[in-house]
Amino acid sequence: MAVSALLRMTAPMRRDFEIPYHDLGDPDQPPRVALVAGLHGDEINGVFVLSRLANFLGGVDLGERAAQTLLGRVIIIPAVNVLGLNIRSRTWPFDKTDINRMFPGYDAGETSQRIAHAVLQVTRDARYRIDLHSSNLDIEESPQVRLYDPSPGERSTAFLFGLPAVVERPSSSLFTATIGHAWQGLGGENFVIQAGQAGNLHLAYCERLFRALVDFLRRTGTLEGVELSEEDEDSYYFGPQQSLQLISDYAGIFVSNLHPGRWVQAGDVIGYVYHGFDGEIHGEIRTPVAGLLTALRRQPLLCQGDLVGRVHTRR
């Protein structure tokens, strides 16, 4: 087990800093799995899950867990945006650039391009690459695997996580500078996992993700000797045409007592919008279709046209 730095950098006034990562398993093999979180400094679930996973696999690697063996090398970067995490900034704090819009990066370019380049270098040789996210400050996502213009292999491998939803989305010009897009150009199989909401730690989601990652490592032959205590729940695949965004035509204060991850029926009330000044109910948001509520608004302040939730339908 080794802790390395994918980048060391000076800072104008603070101490020099580095972006550390865990390098587990046989260092003479190419990495089998690379896991990245904290590209956005306000997404904490992934950081926590990957730090716990590194702790667990580190124990396996050191032989502390009888009968469990790490068969492949695993790279774990719990947080790329180290400074952002420390000062609670989603973006790279100095120039407010989104590190996940700086890929493939450039080693002689701007700071966040250098960071992106270094992340890509450390993860490029892995067979499987996984990028963990937890939405933004407004929306909570139920645990799901996201695929963007996937290969047939990725569609099938995505079920090895055992998460309740595998969601395929079309790629767009907005995503061409993300790590996922850069990884696609390198081959292998690549996944984005979403769970929770930025700025928060959702313990139940974290436990679910930890289990999903261990399961994935076991099923891909990276880790052996692990017994999982529970059976998988059902996993559903949702194509690009099976996603419906619930947009509010009302502005005001949004209130909901639902939780993402539950199934809803057509016509169910997702939440209410109250007038902020006089307290009247402005309107109610209903889902026109039945399906899995994979995302729900947690930020109560609502502008006209804001996203309230997302429902994935079976048809």
């Binding site: 973006t91 819009r101 701007e110 902020g276 000044f277 302040l301 502008c303 006209q304």
Partner: protein, 329 residues
């Protein structure tokens, strides 16, 4: 005694309104001079920390008001001014669209049923589509100062460079196609066949009135050529002639280490290969951490304004040339 209402020279209208959570609306407005004929537009304030374009809109509005008061027939087309596409950002000193932390210039062509930034983008596209010329005025950011220049994606260079040459600016920078820039206003308009030039000048949060006056000479000349202004209108002749910059002659100077960048030269100067352009120094002690030298003979067209640098921060850009244009010392 009956009174006559003053003649309305320009009118303002809102192209989009959206309810905010509490008792306010977001409204995007434009000011329109004239009617019929060729239609041209100026867009500014896409980034809430860039105000040079707002002042350009003011100066053009003032000039047009005077023209319409004295020679209304000389305005033969329609001029639309969009001084603030990101009014929430401008009013709160935020580069991005507040609430969404979204770069409005990465939201085009937008979606009229999407989130607020996408609706602004869609409304702007719907109203600008089909114009004879759109000029999108930017003011760099808070970190870098730029001399007045036009930036053109190479995909549209053939059509736009001849128009940009008439803008009375100092550099025309034809840059390579970068996918993320496909979501800009300019790329989206040009891709639909509506010509759009991007002007960059000055620095974020500041006004450089001399740059605005220089730009306005170019804009008026271009409008006259497009038939928006009568040929008889007297416009000062352009006195700036652009250098052509592209991937082959632009040099980037990125910081080798972090610290405090102190320039040793002034912006918009002719520099020679090996000349010291600045130093990165330590605030903790008297040490000079790095010395920045020019990699070529040329013109310093970008210079860092905000002194703190991280490794990789851009400090300067030079366009290599052996001629010194008007305006550069």
């Amino acid at each position: 005694m009956p009174t006559t209402a003053p003649m309305r020279i320009a009118h303002q209208e809102e192209i989009l309104t959206l309810d905010l959570p509490y008792c306010e609306q977001l409204a995007i407005s434009r000011t329109i001079f004239g009617s019929g004929g060729p239609r041209v537009a100026i867009v500014a304030g896409i980034h809430g920390d860039e105000v040079e374009g707002l002042y350009a809109c003011h100066r053009l509005a003032r000039w047009l008001t005077e023209l319409c008061r004295t020679r209304p027939e000389a305005l033969r087309g329609t001029v639309e001014l969009y001084p603030g596409l990101n009014p929430l950002g401008l009013d709160t000193l935020q580069r991005w669209v507040p609430i969404y932390d979204a770069d409005l210039n990465r939201a085009f062509p937008g979606d009229d049923a999407g989130l607020l930034p996408q609706r602004i983008a869609a409304a702007a596209m719907a109203h600008l589509d089909g114009a004879a010329m759109v000029i999108d005025v930017h003011a760099s950011n808070i970190y870098l100062r730029e001399i007045p220049q036009v930036r053109i994606n190479q995909d549209f260079a053939e059509r736009l460079v001849p128009l940009a040459r008439k803008m009375n600016l100092d550099v025309i920078w034809v840059h390579g196609a970068v996918t993320v820039l496909e979501t800009t206003l300019a790329h989206s308009l040009n891709a639909r066949g509506t010509p759009c030039l991007v002007v960059e000048m000055g620095v974020g949060m500041r006004l450089t009135p001399s740059f605005t006056e220089q730009l306005i000479v170019g804009i008026l000349g271009l409008w006259q050529e497009l038939g928006v202004l009568d040929p008889s209108v007297v416009i000062p002749p352009p006195d700036h002639h652009p250098l052509l910059a592209d991937d082959t002659n632009v040099h980037y100077l990125n910081a080798e280490t972090s610290g405090l960048f102190v320039p040793a030269v002034e912006h918009w100067r002719a520099v020679f290969e090996g000349q010291v352009l600045g130093n990165i120094v330590s605030a903790h002690d008297g040490e000079t951490l790095s010395q920045i030298r020019s990699p070529a003979d040329g013109i310093l067209f970008t210079l860092r304004e905000y002194p703190l640098v991280y490794e990789g921060s851009l400090m300067a850009r030079i366009v290599a040339t052996d001629t010194v244009p008007n305006g550069a010392a």
